[in-house]
Symmetry: C2
């Protein structure tokens, strides 16, 4: 089971946004270049992050995206759910009443497993990885001139 490419792009974009000087913007072109993805597609991904309230977009010359929420407060799970939604691992698909569905053991095990995963993704923030990121990663991203 894999997370989508969109989620991958979103996580990387958030890290890039977190490592640049606070307040500066990065254009989608720059973010797209470094991740080898088309700007229009990445733009759609980033729009989800805007809607989630993590970043803000600025149109016009020297515009782009910038963080508007403290990256210490943005967890991996937050970013993942902003892109993938909240559908859970497992859902009983049988509408017929084979049996009493209360306390389905299969569903319980799966949901608990999902919870373990989510716990860990909640303990790790964008700020947490941003501060450990290798310096040469930063040199590849360009903030707006301004």
């Amino acid at each position: 089971m894999k997370f989508s490419k969109a989620t991958n792009y979103a996580l990387h974009s958030m890290v890039f946004l977190a490592v640049i000087p606070s307040g500066k913007t990065i254009g989608v072109k720059s973010l797209a270049d470094v991740q080898k993805v088309s700007p229009t597609y990445l733009s759609k991904v980033l729009t989800n992050l805007v809607k989630a309230g993590f970043v803000e977009s600025v149109t016009g010359v020297n515009g782009g995206y910038k963080l508007i929420k403290d990256p210490k407060e943005i967890t991996f799970l937050d970013v993942i759910q902003a892109i993938e939604g909240k559908a859970s691992f497992f859902q009983c698909g049988l509408e017929n009443n084979i049996h009493d569905r209360r306390n389905c053991m299969i569903e319980n095990v799966m949901n608990e497993a999902e919870q373990k995963m989510e716990e860990h993704l909640t303990l790790n923030t964008i700020a947490g990885v941003a501060e450990k990121v290798n310096a040469d990663m930063i040199t590849h991203i360009h903030t707006a001139a301004n």
Copy 2:
């Protein structure tokens, strides 16, 4: 993120196989009926469980499938991986050398999260859920006459 329907079918089939009297077989038709899925498709799913060494198939009249491994020894993760493979949550997709890839923090967090999930799926076995399954579930499945 969701597990596939095939995984859902596989888990249910394993539970059904675990709750019937040991040694008896269940035909794919019966397993398919109760899960509202086509027999030919379910057959493909079950073949993966055969290849994984959990069940055995018996052709001919009164044939079908039966467990050949102690369900106490078959974990949820075993079944899931038999169907979905072992691709992990996250993989760095950038071949260019943006930066030093050793100790990628993003990948680390994701893999740790996956590990937490897998730990829990390893602690739970088919036997574990089979013994807690509601009795009326069993009445819906039919073993070979024999």
